[in-house]
């Protein structure tokens, strides 16, 4: 035997109280009177002298009848008739993204969503089952399918919001197989609707009920942050940031730049409504440190008012050029200020002393283990060469890729190129009809840029874009840059750190000061730390080495806290915010509560009468 609401046994605590009331002796005042004759007659008339008496108007009687009716009503467990009879499976997805911490709902959107979810739990019938999913940076199954309301309430009570962007895809993918092919299967989404990227569910016909929270968008936040060396002054660093104002009013505030907690600059900014304002800071830096950009004005959402980035001092890149002679390439490499170039004709052993190896149309004896720019030369396990094409026309290039910053391929002709099948590890950044011409990507921890053509067999070295491209390549392949990119993660995404196998213990200090001690497997090649749901600076001690990571929100859709009237699934499908739905709403608790109140009133009333 089990109980639906074992918490109700707590009411048993009232039994001793009632007994106590009856144990209490009524203290009577002794009073000498002339005669008790009249009183005896009075009592005989007012008390039951016959088994029945005329029903008289007595408020105590009325109260007791009312109490009895209420208790009986409560025991009958009445409910408002609804259409759904039961046996449903509900999947409650609680959006735990950063925007849910907005304080436009009291106390926060997340708390309101939690309250609504708890109300949904209250309305479940005995045969209904429910699943609780918490969709933060990654989706957490807080409760597997159950009809136990206590378990569901516990799961909801322990849910916490994170500083991560909304990632509902994962949660919906989890929920979809549960409710598919099931009558009465419903997905209840408790969110502010700031979600995107749900195109893959466009034609799934998900039965989603969208419980919308959020009232307004009084919020401005930092949406991008990057740090690079200042090309004009190598001793200073350039910080690029942009601030988005989600509200419909102009926001005047100060943007502060801090280096390791010390204020460097405070700049007044005026943010036009619903626009993004880019800002560039220049700051001197003598050691590796953490730059923090902070918006001074308090708004509904605090998570995006601050962002930090690790800035490592630029190190000169040691470049090994393996070439049979290419003056254009050598000149371009030499023009990069932070590069020390060594030229060899063959690579006999792994170039361990160098950060970057440039293979210019050679097949080296030993393959380098560091980052590689490979020009028309590749081992077969990197790319699968299918043939050659004569004079491939460059049709497309990715201008957004860091390698192609300020690079155009207008007026570039190529006489001959290898044709390859695009491999999985790489992104084609320049393409011809026959296949990619430039690939970039990572193989393990090794960054590789691969050119399908010999630069000397093209007009490219004669164009301005060539030295810019080489400078970009050296910047991208420089391990310092790669590390700096590693040290900036979005909240909720895991931190990854390569291990050399000698360290067995790691200590991670979280932004709130807590510490996590990790024991590492000596065979592990990589440390992955997933508890990054909160924005801030994470410090890792790995043996005697110390690393600093920054987790930031930096997500424009999340900063835009406008409550959406609907959740869009691609172009054609959408779910509007739900209004009240028919459901069985049990009200016996309220009736029982009213009964208790009447009982109290009756007790008070009885004493008032006789006092």
């Amino acid at each position: 035997m089990s109980f639906l609401a074992p918490m109700a046994f707590a009411f048993a605590a009232a039994i001793p109280v009632v007994v106590l009331f009856y144990l209490l002796k009524r203290k009577r005042v002794v009073k000498l009177v002339s005669s008790t004759l009249l009183w005896q007659k009075f009592l005989a008339e007012s008390q039951a002298s016959a088994p029945f008496q005329k029903l008289r108007h007595n408020w105590l009687l009325v109260l007791q009848l009312l109490l009895l009716i209420l208790v009986i009503l409560a025991l009958a467990r009445p409910f408002f008739a609804g259409e759904i009879k039961g046996g449903r499976l509900l999947v409650a997805i609680l959006d735990a993204s950063a925007s849910m911490q907005s304080t436009d709902e009291a106390p926060t959107r997340f708390e309101k969503a939690r309250r609504e979810a708890l109300a949904l739990v209250d309305n479940l019938t005995d045969t209904d089952q429910m699943v609780v999913l918490l969709a933060g940076g990654n989706t957490e199954v807080k409760q597997s399918p159950t009809s136990s309301k206590a378990a569901l309430r516990r799961a909801l009570q322990t849910a916490l919001p994170s500083d991560s962007p909304t990632r509902l895809t994962e949660a919906l993918k989890l929920a979809q197989p549960l409710v598919r092919d099931r009558v009465g299967g419903e997905i209840h989404l408790f969110s502010d609707g700031a979600v995107s990227g749900l195109e893959e569910f466009e034609f799934e016909g998900l039965n989603v009920v969208f419980h919308r929270v959020g009232q307004r968008a009084e919020n401005a936040g930092i949406v991008t942050l990057d740090v690079r060396s200042n090309p004009e002054d190598p001793t200073r660093r350039a910080l690029f940031t942009s601030v988005f104002n989600a509200s419909s009013n102009v926001v005047r505030t100060e943007l502060e730049l801090l280096l390791d907690g010390q204020l460097v600059e405070a700049r007044p900014v005026e943010l036009p409504p619903r626009e993004t304002l880019p800002e560039v800071f220049f700051a001197g830096q003598t050691n590796d440190g953490v730059f923090t950009v902070r918006l001074a004005n308090p708004d509904d959402l605090a998570a995006d008012n601050e962002a930090s980035i690790v800035s490592l001092l630029p190190q000169p890149a040691r470049v090994l050029l393996v070439s049979r002679g290419n003056r254009f390439l050598e000149r371009a490499l030499a023009a990069v200020p932070s590069a020390e170039v060594t030229v060899v004709t063959d690579l006999a052993e792994a170039a361990a002393d160098f950060d970057i190896t440039v293979l210019d149309d050679v097949l080296p004896t030993a393959w380098p283990s560091n980052n590689v720019l490979a020009i028309r030369s590749a081992p077969t396990n990197w790319v699968e060469i299918t043939g050659r094409t004569e004079a491939p026309a460059i049709v497309d290039w990715r201008t957004t890729h860091p390698l192609l910053r300020f690079v155009t391929f207008d007026n570039v002709q190529i006489s001959e190129a290898l044709t390859v099948v695009p491999p999985g590890w790489a992104t084609p950044i320049v393409e011809a009809p026959g296949g990619p011409l430039i690939l970039a990507g990572e193989i393990g921890r090794q960054r590789v840029v691969w050119l399908a053509f010999d630069t000397l067999q093209s007009t490219w070295p004669l164009r301005v874009s060539f030295p810019i491209f080489i400078a970009n390549v050296l910047d991208w392949l420089n391990p310092v840059t790669a590390r700096a990119a590693q040290f900036l993660v979005q909240a909720g995404a895991p931190l990854r750190l390569p291990l050399d196998g000698t360290v067995t213990n790691a200590v991670v200090r979280l932004p709130n000061g807590e510490e996590r001690r990790l024991t590492l497997d000596p065979a592990a090649r990589e440390l992955v730390f997933g508890e990054t749901s909160h924005r801030g600076v994470y410090r890792i001690e790995l043996g005697n080495r110390r690393f600093t990571f920054c987790a930031n929100l930096l997500d424009a859709p999340e900063t835009d806290t406008r409550p959406r009237p609907e959740v869009r699934f691609g172009k054609y499908a959408a779910v509007a915010a739900a209004e009240a739905r028919p459901a069985n709403v049990e009200i016996w608790r309220w009736i029982a509560l009213a009964g208790l109140a009447i009982l109290m009133f009756e007790w008070w009333f009885y004493h008032k009468r006789t006092a």
Partner: protein, 296 residues
């Protein structure tokens, strides 16, 4: 404080007790009686028999009829007034005290009777040997000059002990040599009731007047809460939970009690008065008793 004020006494002197029945006393007084005797009120004729006083022959009739008739006149006799005064412990309660009120009524009625040359007997009950002298001085008082002595004796009485109303009335009825006017001053709060006592008075031939005296607290109690009430006479205890919301119910009980007594009296030709001990004395004596034709 004197029982009655001089002003009230002066007004009482003008009153005269009304007797609905002919006086049966043997003593001469000012009341009309069934006895034939000397007075100015003609009553009847009867045949002359030998030895009758020739002074009462009706010579006019003899002249017309040539037969001798004797003229008879009503004899005026006194009216014995018996006042039954409840001096039990329960009468010592009330604000003002019920017993004081009862004594004042007794004194007033007695004074009116004395002024009318009637014989007054005040019978306090229950027995109290400590007051034997004062009580004996209240028996068979006659004449207006005795009024002051009667007042003094009344003032010496105290209310003590438990009364048996029935027994006191019955004994008072039996030991009376002549019937007359009986006035009962009591609160009638006797668990044994009052029926047999009043029946005995009526059956003996008394004209009975009842003055039912209750204290204001008994009519409308001012005590509330969880009470243990102790009976002053019997010592019996009664637990009562009483609130002001039940006052109306209590008052109905009191009214029912009084109504039963009133109906009982009405059924036996007894005049009934209900008086709170807070009633102004002049109001009761000069208005209510006059309106009920106890006196005029």
């Amino acid at each position: 404080m004197p029982l009655l004020t001089a002003d009230l006494l002066r007004r009482l002197e003008q009153l005269q007790l009304l007797a609905q029945r002919r006086a049966r006393s043997v003593s001469r007084g000012e009341r009309r009686s069934r006895a034939r005797g000397q007075s100015v009120e003609f009553a009847d004729h009867r045949n002359y028999v030998f030895g009758d006083d020739l002074r009462y022959l009706d010579w006019n009739l003899y002249g017309r009829l040539d037969r001798l008739f004797l003229k008879l006149y009503e004899e005026e006799r006194e009216l014995p007034v018996r006042i039954f005064l409840d001096a039990s412990e329960s009468m010592a309660f009330g604000e003002p005290v019920k017993f004081d009120f009862a004594r004042q009524v007794a004194a007033a009625v007695g004074y009116v009777a004395l002024c009318g040359f009637d014989r007054v007997t005040i019978l306090p009950f229950p027995e109290n040997r400590d007051e034997a002298v004062a009580r004996s001085g209240l028996r068979a008082v006659r004449g207006r000059r005795s009024a002051m002595g009667m007042f003094q004796n009344l003032a010496q009485l105290t209310a003590r002990g438990a009364a048996d109303l029935n027994a006191a009335l019955r004994r008072g009825a039996i030991e009376a040599r002549q019937t007359g006017l009986a006035i009962v001053l009591s609160d009638f709060l006797d668990p044994a009731g009052y029926e047999t006592g009043l029946d005995a008075l009526v059956g003996r031939g008394f004209q009975v007047d009842v003055v039912h005296i209750l204290a204001p607290e008994e009519l409308a109690p001012t005590i509330y809460g969880d009470l243990r009430l102790v009976d002053s006479e019997t010592g019996a205890q009664q637990e009562v939970t009483f609130g002001k919301y039940r006052l109306a119910a209590y008052q109905r009980t009191v009214q029912a009690f009084c109504q039963r007594l009133r109906e009982y009296c009405a059924g036996r030709g007894i005049t009934y008065f209900l008086a709170s001990s807070a009633t102004p004395l002049a109001d009761l004596l000069l208005k209510q008793l006059r309106a009920a034709e106890v006196w005029r």
